[in-house]
């Protein structure tokens, strides 16, 4: 954290001081109920309400949407979201629940919607009053995202939508969905268009939301069926047929390679006292020091020590890569490191969690719902949940295609 502070602009320095002061006085404290590991798994309405009140407070304090213009509900600042994120993490705050809206909905709406729609949508998105979800994946359109079958048919000033979306995180709470769908069957890529569609207000009027159960036993994502949903043309983003271009804005931000920095808080340990952070190799080292295997500390096993050190190295490399991205003299290709970011961080989390299970040995067989589970069973849960992130947002195999094609100039798969 501290290496960022050294070269703050005057605006960032002033903002940082105010953020720090506010956070010191306004941390929401421990939640009154057990929260899931991340916003993607929130399914309990009480958890939603508690997290939403935190997001509203952070937004009102100017820590969310800082770099968006004030006309659309933003803070009108320059490069301050990074500072807000750093300070929120340092203050060990809860995560922001409107994660799809902040990370993907907001930049897509901001760069492609009509001005009055931005003003209608963005303030309530930033505050968390309205939750957003993303309608990209379909049963037949996963890695081959452009193979969209959901269809929007023009009807005067309206569009009529029919189709089926899957893996729709937070749809059960969502007011709005960013929707990629087909408006022409004549052209795979140029036949796509992009809309914002109502979910909550349209349930029973062309929208059905059904929960899907994850391998962890948690809910949090859904399938969404459209059966003649009618929306006005003003909900369309960019031109008819420009859906793929708009989707690229969404995906660039989803992969941490977009123009806008996503507001993000976090850092609060999930279980008071356990101090487990499944993102931190120091937690692995601590686990290994405390874990006895056949009477010996796991931390004394040479093979495990080597694997733990590799995680420290990868974790530090990830941090330093991000730092180097911001030094133009030291990067060879502007997109080379940003496009790696999603793949690297998700695989690191997956591999750290998997290593934790081997450090725990037989203890790793216990579910997070068993009180005897070491580290409250968080590593096993985290390991399963990491497959959500190595698959979502374009599988990591697709990320490798993109890197090979855009950065190394290799022949395209599609």
């Amino acid at each position: 954290m501290s290496d960022n502070q050294a070269s703050d602009t005057p605006e960032q320095a002033e903002f940082r001081a105010r953020a720090r002061e506010w956070l010191a006085a306004n941390h929401p404290g421990r939640p009154p109920l057990r929260l899931p590991q991340g916003a993607l798994e929130v399914s309990d309405p009480h958890a939603l309400e508690w997290l939403r009140s935190w997001q509203k407070a952070a937004y009102d304090a100017g820590l969310v949407g800082c770099d968006y213009p004030t006309q659309v509900g933003g803070g009108g600042r320059t490069n301050c979201q990074t500072v807000a994120n750093q300070e929120m993490f340092a203050a060990k705050t809860p995560y922001l629940v409107n994660v799809i809206g902040l990370g993907m909905g907001a930049p897509t709406v901001f760069f492609h919607a009509q001005e009055e729609m931005k003003q209608q949508w963005l303030p309530k998105l930033f505050s968390g009053e309205e939750i957003w979800c993303q309608g990209f994946s379909e049963p037949g359109a996963g890695s081959d995202l452009a193979n969209q079958q959901t269809f929007a048919e023009r009807d005067g000033d309206n569009w009529i939508i029919n189709g089926h979306k899957v893996w729709t995180t937070l749809a059960h709470f969502a007011s709005w969905m960013i929707l990629l769908c087909r408006t022409s069957k004549d052209d795979k890529y140029n036949g796509l268009s992009y809309f914002v569609v109502p979910i909550k207000d349209a349930i029973g009027r062309g929208v059905t939301v059904r929960p899907l159960i994850k391998m962890t036993g948690e809910t949090g994502f859904n399938e969404v069926l459209f059966d003649g949903l009618v929306i006005p043309d003003s909900y369309r983003l960019d031109e008819v047929g420009a859906g793929w271009k708009v989707a690229m804005t969404t995906l660039a931000h989803e992969r941490n390679a977009g123009q806008m920095i996503t507001p993000a808080s976090g850092g609060m340990p999930l279980d008071e006292g356990s101090g487990v952070s499944t993102n931190d190799p120091a937690s692995l080292a601590r686990l290994a020091r405390n874990q006895l295997r056949d009477g010996k500390r796991a931390a004394d096993d040479e093979a495990l020590r080597d694997e733990i050190v590799k995680m420290f190295i990868r974790s530090e490399a990830f941090r330093q890569n991000r730092r180097r991205t911001r030094v133009p003299e030291l990067r060879d290709h502007a997109q080379r490191i940003p496009l790696q970011s999603k793949m690297i961080v998700t695989e690191l989390q997956q591999d750290m969690a998997e290593l934790a299970l081997r450090i725990q040995g037989l203890g790793s067989t216990l579910s997070f719902t068993d009180d005897k589970a070491p580290d409250a069973g968080q590593w096993g849960l985290a390991y399963m949940n990491t497959f959500g992130i190595t698959i979502a947002g374009g599988t990591n195999e697709i990320q490798r295609n993109i890197l090979g094609e855009r950065v190394l100039g290799l022949a395209k798969t599609k």
Partner: protein
């Protein structure tokens, strides 16, 4: 202690790096390197020392070896990140030279607070090259281990092993044990009583030798007892420039193999279309970027005198070493049959990477040291 956001890599460092990159692309493209070091294909003659001494002279005249010599000694006084950038470019070119040795000697001499050391730094600034002769016959990585003894009148007897670029360097910086501990000494390459016995090595871009000392008169730059500290203090910087060399060579292997994958056609497609080629090349790119970022981070830590500089430098070397092997193996494999030939330029960089990965300790060695620092020592 806070590191500057930009690794301390400013306009001056970028200009120096860019000029180095131009210098090598003008003077030492891979075909010229191959003609220089690999025209002979008899492996039993690989102990020949093939290099372009005139090119090295130009490098010293450009002031690269003076970069990290303090201004007070007639150098330029640039930060370590500048030397790291130069080493990266040298690695990218597979440059046969005593450059790393001269940098290493510079780092060690800067930690010896003697007039003789300052004078030796002045000589480096004026273009004298050096290399370290601090390794014993068992290849020990402990700075105190040496097979050279120094007597009371400052004369050396014994042997130093695995001396890098021994036939290119003008002078040697030698660790020798006396009655009061290890000291550091300088001997000229043509000194009386010194023999240079070349090893036959696999790497065609370097040379390596055993130095034999028979009552050789030497210049003391660190008295007995002070040598080990000076060597240990210089280790983080030495790990950084060596890692940077591997980063540069790794990038050459990546770009050369990507170019091949863009143009080589099989099954009616450029082979880079196939994910069996595409994905490992992306993985290699990731490994290179990790090594590069860790290297600049460690160098910056050295520049600001950070306490964790050795930890960060070991991370860089561990990552660079494992990347180095991977870069060579994927480059040969993806070039197919041609990649397995002496004629293909890839072999020069493949071998340089294998050589570099074990110098100053391989990835396992550094990870073992890191485990003690990051996890804590193994319980008795």
């Amino acid at each position: 202690m806070e590191q500057p956001k930009n690794f301390g890599f400013g306009e001056d460092e970028a200009m120096l790096r860019d000029s180095a990159r131009r210098f090598f692309s003008d003077n030492l493209p891979a075909d010229r390197l191959h003609a220089l070091v690999a025209a002979e294909f008899d492996p039993h003659r690989a102990n020949q020392c093939k290099w372009d001494a005139d090119l090295w002279k130009q490098v010293t005249e450009l002031g690269w070896t003076a970069a990290c010599v303090p201004e007070a000694e007639g150098g330029i006084g640039m930060p370590l990140v500048a030397a790291v950038a130069l080493a990266e470019e040298a690695g990218r070119a597979g440059f046969p030279s005593p450059m790393l040795g001269t940098f290493n000697a510079t780092f060690v001499l800067r930690g010896c607070d003697t007039d003789a050391a300052r004078a030796a730094l002045g000589a480096i600034a004026e273009g004298t090259s050096m290399t370290l002769a601090v390794t014993n016959s068992r290849g020990s990585l402990n700075a105190g281990d040496t097979d050279v003894q120094v007597d009371d009148s400052g004369r050396l007897t014994g042997s130093a092993h695995f001396v890098q670029d021994a036939r290119k360097a003008d002078r040697y910086l030698i660790s020798a044990r006396g009655a009061n501990g290890v000291g550091l000494y300088i001997v000229e390459r043509d000194a009386d009583g010194l023999t240079v016995a070349p090893d036959v090595i696999v790497d065609v871009t370097r040379d390596q030798a055993i130095l034999g000392f028979d009552n050789v008169s030497a210049l003391e730059v660190a008295p007995p007892g002070a040598g080990q500290t000076a060597l240990e203090a210089a280790l983080p910087a030495m790990l950084c420039v060596l890692s940077a060399d591997m980063v540069g060579a790794g990038e050459w292997l990546l770009q050369t193999t990507a170019e091949y994958a863009r143009t080589r056609v099989q099954f009616d497609r450029p082979i880079g279309f196939f994910q069996a080629i595409k994905h490992p090349l992306v993985n290699l790119m990731v490994e290179i970027d990790n090594a590069k970022s860790l290297t600049y981070n460690a160098a910056c830590a050295v520049d600001i005198g950070a306490e964790d500089q050795l930890t960060l430098a070991r991370m860089a070397k561990a990552q660079a070493s494992s990347m180095a092997v991977y870069s060579g193996s994927r480059a040969v494999q993806f070039h197919g049959g041609i990649g397995f030939t002496w004629e293909c330029w890839v072999q020069m960089f493949f071998k340089r990477q294998l050589h570099s990965q074990v110098l100053l300790g391989d990835a396992n060695h550094h990870r073992r040291q890191l485990a003690d620092a990051l996890i804590g020592p193994v319980a008795a």
